[in-house]
Amino acid sequence: MILDRFANPARFLRLANAILPWCVGATTIMLAAGLYLGLFVAPPDYQQGDSVRIMYVHVPAAWMAMFVYTNIAIASAVSLIWRHPLADLAANASAPIGAAFTFLALVTGSLWGKPMWGTWWVWDARLTSVLILFFLYLGHMAITSAFDNPARGAKAAAVLALVGFVNVPIIKFSVDWWNTLHQPASVFRMGGPSIHPDMLWPLLAMGLGYTLFYVVLLLLRIKSELIGARLRALDSLRQDAA
């Protein structure tokens, strides 16, 4: 099973060190391309004017908010069912990144909402469910560090992540299920994207750039978590010897 191969920490570190430089390069290129296309090439919207450019940082952040949480839920399931050593580390490493993206989605959405909707915030289904996602991330981070025994903290956080995953499809389909102020999907929808290619390509470039950015941070943070686990092992060795 391919998962078994990369659940080995030493093998994971070798792979991570090999692909990190490539991921950093690809992230830089995609973010630079996305920013250039979004700020200088994409046309202003015929109704929203230049405020539409907020979309190029808001929508990728919102995609990542859901994507990272989905990864945490998968890692949590793998951790609880198969007890793979890297799964908890991947979930713990992902949570602050997901929280940051969710925060960005909320704030940039608010900055777009004020000129377009005339309000910073409205308690509609999409905005409220994303706010709940942000609190789920914070809860995950708090529970992970609330136990003296890191394994117990990881297990409790994994259960929270799995229970909270029900919120992800609610976010995605909230604009279809309820009558919301937030506009419906225009990229990932039945029948293909409804957005013009001049705006779609900058958006996809930024989306790929954000995804690669997450991969880079995730690899670095898992490396850091592995060293942290090694340091804890050295601590227990010292206690045994004392």
Binding site: S51, A100, F213, L220, L231, L237
Partner: protein, 69 residues
């Protein structure tokens, strides 16, 4: 950006600050842990077998065993 600059630039600026902050925090923590590990591995051999070897060699040299204090 016309009259929307006051909304567009803060969106890009905040995104840049938060993402740069994530990179800085992640790299600082990684560097700190790498340094601590290098330091600790110098003080305490990582594996039990290494500690036993150290203790045996120090005993045979008459130094009184491993210094784990």
């Amino acid at each position: 950006m016309g009259s929307y600059g006051g909304y567009v630039w803060p969106s890009y600026g905040l995104s840049a600050v938060i993402m740069a902050g994530l990179v800085i925090v992640t790299l600082r923590r990684l560097r700190a842990r790498e340094q601590e590990l290098a330091q600790r591995q110098g003080e305490y051999p990582a594996r039990r077998s290494d500690r036993v070897k150290t203790a045996v060699s120090e005993d045979s040299n008459g130094s009184g065993g491993a210094s784990d204090s």
